[in-house]
């Protein structure tokens, strides 16, 4: 599915060149959950951002090859990359609230991805069901505008009633009446094909009441629901691969268990490949089949999950496993690793 060969990424800073990746080799097969573990600054996130060319301006890929489904995308054009991001590879970020746009409803955000990557599907659905493609014929001002109009009308009516000039308030009464009449007449108009697909995307991640969630803003949802919306967005473009960058770090353990279960379920149902980036060895043990340990921009050990915990080969992996506190009261062994990152 995704092959990364000898990937090298540098960051140019005022203090010199930071070699974030020093030759990373990764192969993720079809339908596999692959874990990438490492500490802060070991280069796990940079690996995934380099693969998708999402690096900030100071970062650059200086060597190596990225192959997606047999296609070399190392020097792919920006337009091709836009098709890949979201269309073939979906991404989930660590903090759902900062990854979601706070001034767009969930409906608009998922709709954006669907229009970009699933346009033909939407048109097909619209012509099949004979419903509008993108926008329902329903006229709806935003709730704020409607509320303001209503408040104005009522205040004018009460003003004129107090002045004893009831006749002057009739136009405002008429306006309020029209608003209710419009809602009544529009009640049977169908939703657009885009709306239906958004609702479908939300119900795939097991969200209750998808219609209601679609029309809400990110801050109205709980952390677990926000992360579910992020997963729905990553899957909306019918991606065959999912990159999850610390998807559960911001969540509580019980919600974390729910989200990991959801990722596992979806992976099995749709036979996707998942690259799970995390610093938590426990998460890897519960979710992944294969795991690679990163340290200072290199993969120092790669093995199946059973092997790496039973029989870690590299000193650093051993130290990392021993640093996790366990029940006993013996002193924790601290891995002697020095400062992360190499300049």
């Amino acid at each position: 599915m995704l092959e990364i060969e000898d990937l090298k990424t540098n960051f140019n800073t005022y203090d010199g060149v930071v070699k974030a990746l020093n030759g990373v080799n990764l192969t993720i097969k079809d339908g596999e959950i692959f874990g990438l573990v490492g500490e802060t600054g070991s280069g796990k996130s940079v690996t995934c951002y380099s693969a998708l060319k999402l690096l900030p301006k100071t970062g650059e890929v200086v060597g190596g090859k990225i192959v997606l489904n047999g296609e070399d995308i190392t020097h792919a054009s920006e337009s091709r990359l836009r098709q890949i991001r979201g269309g073939e590879i979906g991404i989930i970020f660590q903090d759902p609230l900062s990854a979601l746009n706070p001034v767009m409803t969930v409906n608009e955000q998922i709709g954006e991805i669907l229009v970009l990557h699933q346009d033909e599907e939407i048109k097909k659905l619209a012509s099949e069901k004979e419903i509008p493609t993108y926008k329902s014929k329903k006229f709806q001002a935003s709730p704020g505008v409607e509320f303001t109009i209503l408040a104005f009308c009522i205040s004018f009516i009460s003003l004129f009633v107090m002045l004893g000039q009831f006749t002057f308030s009739l136009p405002f009464l008429f306006l309020i009446g029209m608003m209710f009449l419009r809602n009544y007449l529009q009640r049977d108009l169908p939703q657009s094909a885009l709306d239906l697909m958004v609702i479908d995307a939300l119900s795939r991640v097991k969200l209750p009441n998808p219609e209601q969630i679609a029309s809400s803003y990110p801050h109205e949802l709980s952390g677990g629901m926000q992360q579910r919306v992020m997963i729905a967005m990553a899957l909306a473009g019918k991606a065959k691969m999912l990159i999850a960058d610390e998807p559960t770090t911001a969540l509580d353990v019980t919600i974390q268990a729910q989200i990991l279960q959801l990722i596992k379920d979806i992976q099995r149902e749709e036979n996707m490949s998942v690259l799970l980036i995390t610093h938590d060895l426990g998460v890897v043990a519960e979710t992944c089949e294969k795991v690679a340990v990163m340290y200072k921009g290199k993969i120092i050990e790669e093995a199946s999950v059973n092997q790496i915990f039973k029989n870690p080969q590299h000193e650093y992996t051993k130290a990392l496993i021993e640093a996790i506190p366990k029940g006993g009261k013996e002193r924790l062994k601290v891995p002697d690793i020095g400062e992360p990152g190499a300049i």
């Binding site: 353990v253 938590d280 640093a323 366990k326 601290v334």
Partner: protein
């Protein structure tokens, strides 16, 4: 049996929720009747998910927020029979200052707890100057820094020049400045990597042995809690649902929420039984209106969907709505309390 240092009795803290007109319509019951005993020289752990009241409990313990009702009783070891009362809420402001000398706090985010424009020597010496212990202040600061594995060369640096683990060491040094008897640790390692976390936990254990400190350790990471704590309280929605010695609680959890919490912690050591908690955390808001006041105990829409998703996979589950029922704390085993039927 060691001596009890602090006794918390039926502590309640309600935050009012006001409507547009400023009248109270509901209460957020952050603490809803908490009883705890903190033993001297031991580590007392508090676990629970976000929003369950861990931090409010810590803040009432320091009297940073005034409790709605209930009391915090201090033992003679803390009061030295100098205080007018052994109840925390009845102390005068002068006595409160004396009390706060004996309790140090370490917060979660070390960068947020350190003033970025102050030198390390000023940060660590600030509590000493405030409490008027200016004699030999430099030696004291160097001694404190040595205690946490830092040295004299760090005195004239700013917080941003340190790594996350070193910053947390500075915060610990400052908390120890007034020779406290108790150290309250609010998620001291959740912002750190495992290797750095191991260093900090080792340091805390060393300090406890050296100075006979009592720790109140708040965390949501059960592996850290299991390693550090002697006794443990599990909180859920402002109540303590289970309290026991750590070994006892980990080997024999009684409350369904505790069992789910233990099984939800990812681990690679042993294949435990898996219990999922389904549904979202209910809101801690209690409406004053009687008809809306009771939390629903029937299954919600989301829970039904999630049950459908995992049915037939052989995974055990509990639903959150079943936890809403209010049960009283019972002694299920010697010094092991749980809210079970």
């Amino acid at each position: 049996m060691s001596e009890v240092l602090i006794t918390i009795e039926n502590l309640r803290k309600y935050f009012p929720v006001k409507n547009v007109w400023g009248t109270d319509v509901a209460l957020v019951k952050a603490l809803d009747g908490v009883d705890l005993k903190i033993d001297s020289g031991k580590t007392f752990g508090i676990v629970g998910e976000s929003g369950c009241g861990k931090t409010t409990l810590m803040r009432t313990l320091l009297r940073l927020v005034e409790p709605t009702s209930g009391s915090v009783l201090l033992s003679d070891e803390i009061t030295n029979n100098n205080f007018s009362s052994n109840k925390l809420e009845e102390l005068t402001s002068e006595e409160l200052r004396n009390f706060r000398k004996q309790i140090g706090v370490v917060f979660q985010d070390p960068m947020g707890a350190l003033n970025p424009r102050m030198l390390i020597k000023d940060i660590v010496s600030e509590p000493l100057t405030i409490h008027g212990k200016t004699e030999g202040i430099r030696e004291k600061v160097v001694w404190l820094l040595n205690n946490v594995g830092l040295g004299e060369e760090h005195l004239y640096r700013y917080p941003h020049e340190f790594s996350g683990g070193q910053r947390q060491r500075i915060v610990i040094a400052r908390a120890l400045a007034l020779d406290p008897k108790i150290l309250v640790l609010d998620e001291p390692t959740s912002a750190l990597d495992v290797s750095v976390q191991a260093q900090i936990l080792n340091l805390l254990n060393d300090l406890q042995k050296k100075y006979d400190l009592t720790y109140v350790f708040i965390s949501h990471d059960l592996s850290v809690i299991e390693y550090m704590c002697d006794r443990l309280a599990v909180m859920y929605l402002g109540r303590v649902v289970e309290e026991a010695d750590t070994e006892d609680l980990f080997s024999n959890p009684q409350h369904p929420y505790t069992r789910a919490l233990l099984s939800a912690t990812p681990s690679f050591e042993k294949q435990k039984e898996k219990i999922m908690i389904l549904g979202d955390v209910p809101s801690p808001i209690t409406y004053l209106d009687e008809s809306k006041a009771k939390l629903a105990t029937e299954i919600t829409e989301q829970e039904r969907l999630e049950i459908k998703a995992i049915e037939g996979k052989g995974i055990e589950y509990i639903v959150r709505s079943s936890l809403n029922e209010h049960l009283s704390l019972k002694e299920v085993a010697p010094s092991h309390y749980a809210r079970v039927k």
